[in-house]
Amino acid sequence: MKPVYILSSSAISPQHSFEPENFLHPVKSTDDGKLFVVDPDYRQFINPVAIRRMSRLIKMGIAAGMNALKLAGLEKPDAIITGTGLGSMTDMEHFLKDMINMNEEALNPTFFIQSTYNSVNGWIAVQSKCTSYNQTYVNRGFSLELSLLDAQLLLNEATEREVALVGCFDELTDEYFIVKNKIGYWKKQLPQSRHLLKESNTVGTIAGEGTSFFTLSNKAENSVCILHGVKMIQSPTSAEISANISTFLQQHHVALQDIDLIITGMNGDTNFQPLYQAALEHTQPHTTIAAFKHLSGEYPTASGFALWLSAQLFSTQTIPEEIIYKRGATTDIRKILIINHYILNTASLMLLSN
């Protein structure tokens, strides 16, 4: 399958990611185990009449999606494909609480309508007047990866479609944090989030949220970087992740020593650290190893933050100190490998080049 080209990217995250002038600076750090996004001014991107009914997640998704289109100089994509692990948690919580409190009668329609997983896609389609292919994947830790794969397949077809808007979105709520805390998702002794990786000797991680959108094209013109492929691995062992990296790179005619930067989804959880250690064992001295979940927190589509980060790094050609786990000798960023593992035992690989 032919690669696809990333024309633009936009992310709303717990860090300064939306405004181009504040790239990850200053780093936002919390000590309560929760990384909520830095909200931009949503009114610039959303119809003022419609915005009053929208939850935070819907606003985040629409703003990032419309901004990605704007950055690519496009008004309307040929397809809208997104992934979300959790969907609109706030609206769903409202709706379920109302069902209990109101004894399943006189329920507000808005919360129900907007709690559906494809609300963001629908709104972007309305705002961009896009009536073509529209798909939302809800597959936990593979949600974004399946969206990217679908876009790649679509753009490889012999049709007139040239650009797909692909994105992901997940939100954190206090209730979600409490529920997942009961099954041990989060660390008992919560560290300052920016020091998460220094606390990799205990179980658990920190929670996060965010949205990332990309315009993908089958034409190289005006592109920021190339997405060669995405690989998904279900319930992998350390050995399987390493073996899959080798096979994946071979499929794309790339050797491990060609990789300048590896961005890992290390989340400070001692349960998952061995998966990364095995994968990184054979990396070359010139390869820089980076991590990002101390900036984004853990959530099903956190790999979107890593993909957005990669697109930025190809443009800036500078690796910020805040993400470096182990500095390599490399000075140019030509090839990036993303290795991400999500708590529910899914792992993914993405290969990019400039």
Binding site: V49, R52, M102, A106, N108, P109, T110, I113
Partner: protein, 85 residues
């Protein structure tokens, strides 16, 4: 009646999340939909829920609903006539 209309306007602003709007900005007789307040079909459902939750009034007939929800005045009059004791 005046107290009811004021309360109704506050409830409309809150339930429809009409940001930056105050009760004094809503005229008693101004159309809630279309050219007046500019509400839409989802708002009409929200107003039906508002009447049911706060006043115990259930409007089953859509044509009657259109008349009742045309303004704050018509809503208040309908509430006075039909509110359960």
């Amino acid at each position: 009646m005046e107290d009811l209309k004021l309360k109704l306007k506050q409830q409309i602003i809150e339930s429809l999340n009409l940001q930056g709007m105050e009760p004094k900005d809503i005229d008693d007789n101004a159309a809630l939909f279309g050219e007046g307040l500019g509400l839409d079909s989802i708002d009409s459902l929200e107003l039906m829920v508002l009447l049911e939750r706060n006043y115990g009034i259930k409007i089953e007939d859509a044509r009657e609903g259109r008349k009742v929800l045309s303004s704050v005045q018509s809503m208040a009059e309908y509430i006075q006539l039909h509110q359960k004791a």
